[in-house]
């Protein structure tokens, strides 16, 4: 199974994934990225903050960027009813 690296990009700071993980394909890595954004955002909200400029950059073993998954891809914002 191929290895993918899920780096966190937040306000221009990159938190690198040194370990990576095996996923059967990029789609599975994308699903995990969505779950991860939700996990990170939940953690932040619990501490009283919410970072909107948050994304996961999926790269392969050579460091090439395959895809970026953003806050908006992971979380639906429901505005107040008019």
């Amino acid at each position: 199974m191929p290895w993918f690296y899920l780096h966190i990009r937040c306000n221009d700071v990159l938190i690198e994934d040194d370990e990576g993980a095996e996923f059967p394909h990029l789609a599975a890595a994308r699903i995990e990225s969505v779950r991860s954004i939700r996990s990170l955002v939940s953690g932040d909200v619990r501490d009283g903050k919410l970072q909107l400029d948050l994304s996961i950059e999926i790269r392969d073993g050579d460091g090439s960027q395959l895809e970026s998954v953003s806050f908006d891809d992971a979380i639906t914002i429901i505005p107040p009813s008019p």
Binding site: L6, I8, I15, E19, R35, G43
Partner: protein
């Protein structure tokens, strides 16, 4: 072979020479497992219990979405499933995290030893009670602690438990888990584990490199995890 196990028991109660000989006689065959192997499956009928000699094992539950939760870690000297003696089947899996060596204790032999030595029956009852206390503490972590708090708490617990069996050395120990596995203990994704580890490094609480944890500031790490070893019952009393 069972030195780690005896250390674990003797922290909590006296074990006589006769009782020690009986425990040695209880375990027979030694088996080796590779990493990431399900050794006992949920629902499997049980006729033996496994004493972990080397390696790390986890109690796990599989979720319908394909995910997995680890509800306890086990180290050298732990019976992975003494509770299987009374339960006859488990509501969880036992899975290796690293290559492991285990010694088998057939249930009929356990029964003979516990019938002859009622004190040992109480000691093993105590050990399953302590497992339950660990589960309760993990429940508090998952329910109420922040990601960093859960992680700090776990690193403190592992240190305490490995210290008992001589596997922690000046506040550092081998830590063979992947970020995914650590996440399964803490209810976090691997990515969230990564960010939390970076935060722990930034706060100079721990170092984690080449699969080895070094605790840099134990009092602050305990404070971050709200850790008190009270629930591990590290005290010797007649049982």
């Amino acid at each position: 072979m069972i030195e780690a196990h005896l250390k674990k028991l003797r922290i909590r109660d006296d074990i006589s020479a006769e009782e020690e000989a009986a425990i040695r006689g209880m375990v027979s065959e030694v088996r080796e497992y590779r990493a990431d192997q399900v050794v006992i499956r949920r629902g499997q009928e049980l006729s033996e219990s496994l004493l972990l000699l080397e390696g790390w094992i986890a109690r796990t539950k599989d979720l319908s979405d394909g995910g997995r939760q680890i509800s306890e870690l086990q180290f050298s000297g732990d019976f992975t499933d003494m509770h299987g003696f009374t339960l006859k089947r488990l509501d969880h899996n036992i899975a290796t995290l690293t290559p492991c060596r285990v010694a088998l204790a057939p249930h009929h032999r356990i029964r003979e030893v516990l019938d002859r030595f009622p004190h040992l029956a109480r000691v093993y009852w105590l050990m399953t009670n302590i497992d339950a206390a660990i589960h309760r503490e993990w429940t508090v972590s998952l329910g109420r602690r922040s990601a960093l708090g859960r992680m700090a708490h776990l690193f403190c617990e592992i240190r305490e438990r490995l210290n008992v069996v001589g596997l922690a050395d000046n506040d550092s120990y081998d830590f063979p888990l992947t970020q995914q596995e650590l996440g399964e203990c803490l209810g976090l994704t691997a990515v969230h584990v990564n960010r939390t580890l970076q935060e722990m490094r930034r706060r100079e609480l721990i170092e984690l490199e080449n699969r080895r944890v070094r605790i840099r500031d134990l009092p602050r790490l305990k404070s971050a995890g709200d850790f008190d070893p009270y629930y591990l019952y590290l005290e010797k009393r007649p049982r």
